[in-house]
């Protein structure tokens, strides 16, 4: 029996037992996300298409799956969706600037050996591909921050329907800070765990600190991780702002 299949079955059983209907939906959403991922890969292999646009479209779908399918379409999820998209756009701008100057796209010297049999002249722009990698890596965390803030702020508003927009915004920020810490932790540990092998390799070869930081692989990873963290960090004020705006606008409309 295949490891992946068995693990997936165990996860499905656990999600159903602990989560009930929502658990099943969560599991299905993982599948759907993977499906979007596959579609994305398929389109990226076409050299005429810009990987960044493809990633953005994929993000829209992923947002819909994780927000609307699992939680339904309501004020909270719509606000979370908008917050996510805006955060991604900001992040994209940042990544584009950095990758252009740091030349970290493609593969480093360490990877080239293993990939020697492959032709690297495949007509795909690796810089844009890296942007795609970083955005996809962060999207989960950005969505989590967005939906948590949306949910909390709506709760706060329910208890204080007369709150001003500014107060709503600041309260959103303060509630979100805890989530910020937890999510950056999750992201970073996931990356640490994934690249443990690489770290060991560097240590084995006694790379000096300077060599490590300058190597393409390490700097690409670190910059990717940092951008992911930045994405989460700016996701907080963006989500708070969007929610504050939407909530008070709805209130103004009701009063009018």
């Amino acid at each position: 029996m295949n490891v992946i299949v068995l693990l997936a079955i165990i996860l499905f059983l656990l999600m159903t037992v602990v989560g009930g209907k929502k658990g099943i939906k969560s599991f299905v959403s993982l599948f759907l996300n993977f499906g979007v991922f596959m579609f994305m890969i398929f389109f990226i292999t076409n050299p005429d298409m810009n990987p960044i646009y493809i990633t953005l479209i994929a993000s829209v779908f992923i947002g819909c799956i994780n927000l609307f399918y699992i939680n339904g379409v309501n004020n909270k999820t719509v606000a979370a969706f908008i917050s996510t998209m805006i955060t991604i756009l900001f992040l994209l701008f940042l990544i584009a600037t950095v990758t252009k100057y740091a030349m970290i796209q493609g593969f480093g010297e360490e990877e080239i050996d293993e990939l020697g049999v492959f032709s690297l002249y495949i007509g795909i722009d690796f810089t844009k591909l890296l942007a795609s990698v970083i955005i996809l890596g962060t999207i989960g965390a950005i969505m989590d921050v967005a939906i948590s803030i949306a949910a909390s702020m709506h709760e706060i508003y329910k208890h204080n329907p007369l709150m001003s927009r500014k107060d709503l915004f600041t309260s959103g920020l303060s509630v979100g800070r805890d989530i910020l810490g937890a999510d950056t932790n999750t992201l970073f540990f996931a990356f640490f765990g994934g690249y443990l092998a690489l770290l060991l390799w560097f240590k084995d070869l006694s790379y000096t600190f300077g060599e490590i930081i300058n190597s393409k692989i390490f700097s690409a990873e670190i910059i990717g991780i940092l951008c992911a963290g930045i994405g989460v960090a700016i996701g907080l004020p963006i989500a708070s702002g969007i929610n504050a705006y939407l909530i008070t606008r709805k209130r103004e409309k009701q009063q009018a």
């Binding site: 029996m1 295949n2 490891v3 068995l6 693990l7 165990i10 996860l11 656990l14 999600m15 602990v18 989560g19 929502k22 658990g23 969560s26 993982l30 996300n33 993977f34 990226i44 740091a102 030349m103 970290i104 493609g106 050996d113 293993e114 990939l115 495949i122 591909l129 990698v133 996809l136 890596g137 999207i139 989960g140 965390a141 969505m143 800070r177 989530i179 910020l180 810490g181 999750t186 992201l187 970073f188 540990f189 996931a190 765990g193 690249y195 443990l196 092998a197 770290l199 060991l200 930081i213 300058n214 393409k216 700097s219 910059i223 940092l226 951008c227 963290g229 960090a233 907080l236 004020p237």
Partner: protein, 250 residues
């Protein structure tokens, strides 16, 4: 090529944005992150100097340190944090046991270790150790969220019944289950994109490409997900135990 100035630049932007939006929490997060990174580096150094010690053992001990440091620094020294730490350790441990049993039972059918191309070390252990660390973050997230929310409910109403706490706990768990698993899922598979594209453009078959490149990532993501889901009831019961203890004291 000189890249370190860009790494530094992005690092400063990161610290800057985290401090602005996160304020004190942001600062604490950065501190705990830095301490954890240093600890990891130190632990790896020990492993290299004494390779006879199991890497999994070293990472396990480091894992205890990571959870303790991260949670204590960011949430403070209180019952909420203690509950979260215990829940984290239990959840991670059990999910790792499950992972180990699955690997044993399936004779690792489906996992392509070739992907760990850099390796000069026993690959199986490095993989397990990596999985431990990767799951730790997600499990911590669940544990502290459960603990904070339940303790907050208790603070608002000291007489709240265990039944009500359980109901709220399960609700909270259901909300975060999908979200946190997604974080893991995307964090892991995003890194494989360039290599997958490379394989496909060089006319490798889709099935071969995916099995070669995604097997490790998917395994990690699934084990992490299992850890997350397990920690929901575990965190719930442990937090309730701590709340009852606090209630008895006061």
């Amino acid at each position: 090529m000189k890249r370190d100035q860009y790494v530094l630049l992005v690092a400063w932007i990161f610290i800057f944005t985290l401090l602005i939006t996160g304020k004190k929490q942001g600062l604490l997060s950065i501190i705990s992150l830095a301490v954890n990174a240093a600890l990891l580096s130190f632990a790896l150094d020990i492993y290299i100097t004494y390779p006879s010690i199991s890497l999994v053992l070293i990472c396990g001990l480091s894992g205890i340190a990571f959870s303790a440091i991260s949670l204590l620094v960011v949430s403070g020294f209180n019952e909420k944090t203690y509950a979260a730490i215990v829940a984290t350790l239990l959840g991670t441990f059990i999910s790792l046991v499950i992972a180990y049993v699955v690997l044993l039972v399936t004779s690792e059918n489906g996992i392509r270790y070739e992907e760990m191309q850099f390796l000069t070390r026993p690959y199986r252990m490095v993989f397990m150790a990596g999985m431990l660390i990767g799951s730790l973050g997600a499990v911590m997230d669940v544990a502290i969220t459960m603990s904070s929310s339940l303790f907050a409910l208790y603070e608002q109403n000291k007489d709240i019944s265990v039944k009500a706490l359980k109901a709220s706990g399960i609700d909270i768990g259901k909300e975060i289950m999908g979200a946190i698993t997604s974080i893991l899922f995307f964090a892991y598979i995003s890194g494989s994109i360039p290599v997958i594209i490379l394989y496909l453009k060089n006319a490798s078959l889709l099935g071969f490409t995916l099995s070669m490149n995604l097997s490790l990532e998917l395994a990690r993501a699934l084990v992490g997900g299992i850890g997350v889901v397990l920690t929901i009831p575990i965190g719930l019961y442990i937090t309730i135990y701590f709340i009852n203890r606090k209630r008895v004291k006061s």
